[in-house]
């Protein structure tokens, strides 16, 4: 008896069982491997470490994936920042009427989920004379502009000292040379620290797979901007970098019916944005936090 089941044999058997169980548990995520995640995507390197060839392959894959999931041919580009360009944005609060057309344009341009009505822009209805964002109402639904109110559209301020970038544990979000804070959606782990760190509530989380009918999908997409984000990652305004890096104006600016928005290159002394900064009374939100935003507000008078 003792020959067959020696203490040693029992310990060996128990150890092997435990080891096998631990191994099975460690491998458990693989059993949950879904079609959403290809091996290539799983093994993909950080954006900044990708060579042009690797990025080219990723883009081919992403386009095929978009076609399969959303039933439409899309063009996904990875436009580099332009030399000598540093973006800035300003908004004239004297003329904004709170119509939310900017939020609507953002919703369409950036391929947001249709059912949630998501947008990178949140327009706050504010009491005149107050700058307390916590008392701004983003859910107003009455004719605008309302008496005694003014309207404060808030989106990512592309801070030069961005709290969201600092808190990311995996460096999935960073500041580009042209001033845009971007997210590599393929690197983001969805911890939402950045969302909590942003003093402007500018980041959004994809709780579900975004649903967009093929005919409404914007096929002009960028890897770091408006390609359809996977579930479980954080997303944000990129000043429409797929447009602006090609020289075009952001979608929210073109949609604004009152011309409240001014966009341009801060390094160009003749740009409209520079004129506003030099000639208008300009302020930034929560200046005391030292975030150094690139999004400015001004009044006409």
């Amino acid at each position: 008896m003792s020959d067959i089941f020696s203490r040693r044999t029992v310990m060996k058997g128990a150890g092997a069982t435990l080891g096998a169980a631990a191994f099975a548990h460690a491998m458990a995520p693989l059993t949950e491997w879904t079609q959403d995640l290809s091996v290539d995507a799983f093994l993909q390197k950080h954006y900044k470490e990708l060579t042009r060839d690797e990025m080219a392959r990723i883009l081919v894959h992403l386009k095929a994936e978009a076609k399969q999931k959303y039933g439409r041919d899309v063009d996904i580009q990875d436009l580099p920042p332009q030399e000598g360009v540093s973006f800035g944005y300003a908004l004239n609060l004297s003329v904004c009427i709170g119509c939310r057309r900017c939020a609507e344009a953002c919703h369409q341009e950036n391929n947001h989920d249709r059912s949630t009505g998501n947008s990178y822009i949140r327009v706050l209805e504010m009491q005149q004379g107050s700058l307390d964002l916590e008392h701004g109402n983003a859910n107003y639904d009455h004719p605008v502009p309302a008496e005694g109110k003014y309207y404060l559209p808030v989106q990512c301020h592309q801070c030069d000292n961005a709290p969201c970038v600092k808190v990311c544990p995996v460096q999935a979000t960073w500041k580009e040379p042209d001033g845009i804070v971007v997210v590599d959606y393929n690197w983001c782990i969805g911890c939402r620290y950045c969302e909590a760190a942003c003093p402007y509530h500018a980041r959004r989380f994809n709780w579900t797979k975004p649903e967009i009918p093929p005919e409404e999908l914007n096929p002009d997409q960028g890897y770091l901007s408006n390609r359809v984000r996977p579930r479980g990652v954080v997303e944000k305004c990129t000043f429409c970098l797929h447009r602006t890096r090609a020289g075009r104006l952001p979608a929210c600016l073109e949609a604004c019916p009152t011309g409240a928005r001014v966009f341009g290159n801060l390094l160009d002394p003749k740009s409209p944005i520079r004129w506003v900064l030099e000639n208008k009374r300009v302020f930034v939100l929560k200046e005391e936090l030292g975030t150094r935003p690139r999004f400015f507000y001004f009044f006409d008078k």
Binding site: Q77, Y140, E195
Partner: protein
């Protein structure tokens, strides 16, 4: 010779056809132009009719005025007839003839009396609205579409009349688009956006 050399360079440089179409400004690209939007209001009037596709039908000024003489300018908007009947006027204490030529109501005149064609109305508006004109010239009033970078493409600036009806220039508001998804929360000043938006 030179294209062949470039092709060889491209081949060895790894810039094959499967490369992403990175933006490259075309060499010697023409500099983009900034043009002024020409609102239909300056050359046509509303007819209250709809076309076959249900769009509001506008009638070009020339439809009538090329066939018959324009009558002299009336003293008050209420005296206008036919297509111009019912014109709402809310623009300070101005008279019709402050901007229109009394004998030729289809064209404008500056404060100096100098005639001004309709499409150039910006100059007329600028006589009184100096600060707005200053901001407009700097690109900070009125909005635009197209390219911020004129070396990449064209840009269209809005005309004063694109947004402001010269006879009733205050910008009209309206009901906002993108209604809130949780109407129960509406109107409460303290409510944040619903959870799943965050």
């Amino acid at each position: 010779m030179r294209p062949a050399f470039a092709a060889v360079l491209l081949a060895f440089g790894g810039c094959g056809k499967d490369q992403p179409a990175r933006f490259q400004p075309p060499p010697g690209a023409p500099t983009g132009k900034e043009t002024l939007h020409q609102p239909a209001k300056l050359t046509s009037v509303e007819s209250d009719q709809k076309d076959a596709l249900g769009r509001p039908l506008r009638v070009a000024c020339e439809s009538c005025h090329s066939l018959r003489e324009t009558k002299p300018m009336p003293s008050r908007p209420e005296e206008l007839k036919e297509f111009h009947q019912g014109l709402q006027f809310r623009h300070g204490e101005l008279a019709c003839t402050s901007c229109h030529q009394a004998s030729q109501p289809r064209s404008l005149h500056l404060a100096t009396g100098e005639p001004l064609p309709m499409p150039e109305a910006v100059t007329l508006c600028a006589q009184c609205h100096g600060p707005q004109y200053r901001d407009f010239k700097a690109g900070a009033h009125g909005g635009m579409t197209g390219y911020w970078d004129l070396s990449k493409g064209d840009r269209t600036r809005n005309h004063c009349v694109s947004c402001h009806d010269p006879h009733s220039p205050k910008y009209a508001g309206g009901h906002p688009v993108m209604p809130p998804r949780h109407p129960s929360a509406q109107g409460e000043p303290d409510t944040k956006e619903p959870q799943h938006h965050e």
